[in-house]
Subunit: 209 residues, 2 copies
């Protein structure tokens, strides 16, 4: 968390710093992102950054938190509709909102994605606190409910099912990001949703004929 001095800054200055940090962390991993560059590009002295944040990790934590909150904004609507939707209707909505978030906030999406790819588990825990594995547990809960409703096969292993759904979600976000980097074209959202539907169709009914 930032020091008090950071919140004494004008909102404008705070925004510049945050935006610059987002830029930097979006284009490099935590390790390779540069505090020096952030300071330079934000037009402040490096020493000042250390007046606002304890250290690099502290700034990173704050940016990760911002990312998470922003993404939550995209998901809360459909999470609110949990009760009314069938499992795969809900998953479709979640995937869709994930894609939307990625398209509208590519830098934030890239940051959270880079973070997920981080291998150092201790580091991850340190940054996320207790919030880890939340996504997996959420899907596990959904699957259990759907089993009880008779929507989903009982023979299915809940944990493995949640694992599949989580991983394909991040895989999709990853692909969106890479395409956006490569061809600068804002890729067709409908085409993407079509892919998602094809994917969910496979998950729902299986490969076998």
């Amino acid at each position: 968390m930032p020091k008090k001095t950071f919140y004494n800054l004008s909102e404008e200055k705070r925004n510049i710093i945050i935006e610059t940090a987002i830029d930097e962390f979006a284009s490099d991993s935590f390790k390779n992102a540069s505090i020096s560059k952030i300071a330079e590009r934000a037009g402040i002295a490096k020493g000042s950054l250390y007046q606002y944040f304890i250290d690099k990790k502290d700034l990173y934590k704050h940016i990760i938190e911002i990312s998470g909150n922003k993404k939550l904004e995209y998901l809360t609507d459909c999470i609110a509709r949990i009760e009314g939707l069938k499992l795969f209707e809900l998953i479709r909505e979640l995937y869709k909102q994930g894609i939307l978030f990625t398209i509208e906030n590519p830098k934030l999406a890239s940051i959270t994605n880079n973070f997920l790819k981080e291998t150092d588990t201790r580091f991850k825990e340190e940054i996320l606190g207790t919030n880890m594995e939340k996504s997996n547990q959420f899907f596990e809960m959904l699957i259990e409910k759907s089993k009880q409703k008779g929507e989903v096969k009982n023979e299915i292993d809940t944990k493995v099912g949640a694992y599949i759904i989580t991983h394909l979600n991040t895989a999709i976000v990853d692909q969106v990001l890479n395409h956006m980097e490569f061809s600068e074209i804002l890729l067709n959202q409908e085409e993407l949703l079509d892919k998602v539907d094809k994917m969910l169709f496979i998950l729902e009914s299986g490969f076998n004929s």
Copy 2:
């Protein structure tokens, strides 16, 4: 590719260098791996390394090539049996061999996995040459064949199907690696295969009841 001087070295010395490089690239990304450390740990002068390899990328290329070849050894057997097996029997074998490779060669697996996570597409192309996307195309071909045999639903999108199978494969390898890092216990191979079976069951028959 290494310079001629590298191949003039004794096999022993060559092996030490390769092993040390594998260690280094396994524990850090290309960017963060250190030539200086490799030289120091291999007990040779840094300048010598540059007598054997053009630059860092050249050494990395060679290590990636070694990894790829070693993994191919694990897969050729079951690839040879393509004709006799059903789609998911084959996929099971491929996943299984992938896990086996990862357990028996965790460093090499970690290197290839880190490489796959690399975001810079140009860099990837430069390292791999034309070999990119091979895995995806392979699965696409398999799915097409299985459709013709009537094993697999025709309504399924081949590309999306291959995408799912490829991504879940790398996700599994990833999990194996992380577990190995964390608990130093050689994790139960049967337990893993059980998870794979549960995963394939879902893919074969779908979530819906």
